[in-house]
């Protein structure tokens, strides 16, 4: 059974059908791309998967658990984490704290312990620090742990957002245009990081991307959206050579 199963997913805004009859499967530990021209409904699909929007039709199952109707925090708890097209960090918090916020599901203590800094507070905080530093070091961010997130350069902010998502210990990670605004050298580095993330954190990755070099370089399987519906899907090489896909991208 696939990790993520999406069947007949759709949503209407007024009369507009932003996503229509979307069917997807993402296997465990796989690297899947979701591509398509601007306005094809890719980010809307992500928003449906993460509960930002509630679908008007269709089924979303993660590990056999139905996610339709759940709120974003519950979907995160169920095992989907994401990044955003326009970076959304906790900009006035330190880099370390950005990663410690999501850790609190796994390393918890009571409100009373928060007030008094007694009981398991110290032990749990220490574990959180260690775990957060471990994740940060994967992204080469450990040396900047004390800096404000907003003071990081752009590329590092993107990495921090991925690190923060991973701290929720997801089964599936959604990346929304991770290479946006990066130069070819940074994109190259990002590709290595994404592969490393998949192997090290044992997580399936579904990503939206316009950079074809990145898509063809790391994605094993592709879904192509156009006008809210699925245009094509299959192995990366096959899809990219599909005349329908080329036409959708380049026009007539």
């Amino acid at each position: 059974m696939a990790l993520l199963e999406v069947k007949g997913l759709g949503i209407s805004f007024g009369g507009l059908r932003a996503v229509d009859d979307l069917n997807m499967e993402v296997d465990r530990d796989s690297l899947v791309g979701l591509i398509g021209p601007n306005g094809a409904g890719k980010t809307t699909a992500f928003n449906l998967l993460t509960g930002v929007y509630e679908p008007t039709d269709g089924i979303i199952n993660l590990d056999g658990v139905n996610l339709v109707g759940k709120k974003p925090p519950e979907i995160c708890e169920a095992g989907i984490a994401r990044t955003f097209q326009n970076i959304r960090l906790f900009s006035q918090m330190s880099v370390l704290d950005n990663v410690k916020v999501p850790l609190h599901h796994h390393l918890s203590y009571s409100l009373a312990e928060s007030f008094l800094h007694l009981g398991s507070y110290r032990k749990k905080e220490k574990e959180m620090d260690e775990r957060a530093m471990e994740i940060l070091s994967v992204f080469d961010l450990d040396k900047q742990a004390d800096q404000l997130a907003s003071n990081l350069p752009y590329g590092k902010q993107r990495k921090l957002e991925i690190a923060r998502a991973l701290a929720t210990e997801p089964k599936l990670l959604l990346l929304d245009e991770p290479a946006a605004g990066m130069n070819p050298h940074e994109t190259e580095e990002l590709m290595n990081t994404i592969r490393l993330v998949r192997d090290r954190f044992k997580v399936a990755i579904l990503l939206i991307e316009h950079d074809m070099k990145l898509v063809s370089g790391i994605c094993e399987y592709l879904y192509v959206l156009n006008f809210g519906t699925e245009l094509a899907s299959g192995k990366t090489g096959d899809v990219l050579n599909d005349p329908r896909v080329i036409k959708a991208y380049l026009g007539e």
């Binding site: 980010t43 928003n47 930002v52 955003f84």
Partner: protein, 295 residues
């Protein structure tokens, strides 16, 4: 005296205070729409208007018409000056900083008035000497009539101005998207100044009508109608001019009816209660547009 006559009288009372609230609320809403700030000092412009009228009529002994025009001019100028000095430097500052500055301006105006005119209330004779009319069993005073007419004229005039003139469409453009408006060649600074001037001029008219009704001057006289009008603006949907008119009138009527038929002391609680309930059902007010953040 039947129940119906009583209710009608309260409705007319409510419409009179509501008209004043509406005039003030329009100023709040216009400034909010264009500068995205709560101008907490707006209520004190009413007070400045009231004292100006007092100075022009009782001390300088000018004719009423001239005094009214000068009062409106003083308030409009004050609105522009306050915006230039206190708010313009904060255009890109966090909204809380602007709010606190506006509170500072409010304190400043109140305490300047306190220094000049002292805290003891000054009695003031109304400048409106029109006799009232009688409709069936109901008396409508001259002040009330003037309030209705003045408010109606102002509202119609403002609606025409905003929708039919170039300056009005510049205002709408700036309130929609300041950056884009400036790229289209609209002088944003001038438009914002104009908005403050119009809002303050309306507050001056409200101040004149208010003081002709209550006939007593105090440095804090603007605070109460100010806060009520602010509530009215939010009730109608802040940033929305017809909303402010509707909110003001509704608020006046609700207040007057609850005062007469429920409890004088609880009237305020009822007014705010209505606001809370409306916002819980329609988070952007009665006529406000719903905004959602794009993810």
């Amino acid at each position: 005296m039947s129940l119906i006559t009583g209710i009608l009288e309260q409705l007319i009372n409510g419409l009179r205070t509501g008209s004043i609230y509406a005039l003030i609320a329009i100023g709040y809403t216009m400034v909010y729409g264009i500068a995205k700030m709560i101008n907490f000092a707006h209520g004190d412009i009413i007070m400045v208007g009231a004292y100006s009228l007092y100075v022009f009529t009782a001390i300088l002994e000018l004719p009423a018409a001239a005094a009214v025009i000068l009062t409106v001019a003083v308030c409009a100028a004050l609105g522009i000056v306050v915006e230039r000095i206190a708010y313009k430097p904060l255009r890109n500052a966090p909204s809380l900083a602007v709010l606190i500055t506006a509170i500072g301006v409010s304190y400043f105006l109140q305490n300047t008035a306190l220094l000049i005119f002292k805290a003891t209330p000054i009695p003031f004779g109304s400048i409106i000497n029109i006799s009232g009319i009688r409709l069936g069993n109901i008396n409508i005073s001259g002040v009330t009539l003037v309030t209705f007419v003045a408010t109606a004229v102002m509202m119609v005039g403002l609606t025409l101005f905003v929708n039919k003139t170039r300056a009005g469409s510049a205002m709408r453009a700036v309130s929609e998207d300041r950056g884009a408006a400036s790229l289209m060649g609209i002088n944003v600074n001038k438009t914002i100044s104009m908005t403050f001037a119009i809002g303050s001029a309306l507050a001056a008219v409200a101040g004149i009508l208010y003081i002709c009704q209550y006939q007593s001057l105090q440095p804090t006289l603007g605070a109460l109608p100010g806060i009520k009008a602010f509530v009215a603006a939010v009730l109608g949907g802040i940033g929305n001019i017809p909303g402010a008119m509707l909110g003001g009138l509704l608020l006046g009527i609700i207040e007057s009816l609850s005062r007469a038929y429920i409890s004088t002391q609880l009237a305020d609680a009822i007014v705010y209660g209505v606001l809370v309930i409306v916002l819980l059902v329609r988070p952007s007010g009665l006529l406000g547009k719903q905004k959602t953040e794009k993810v």
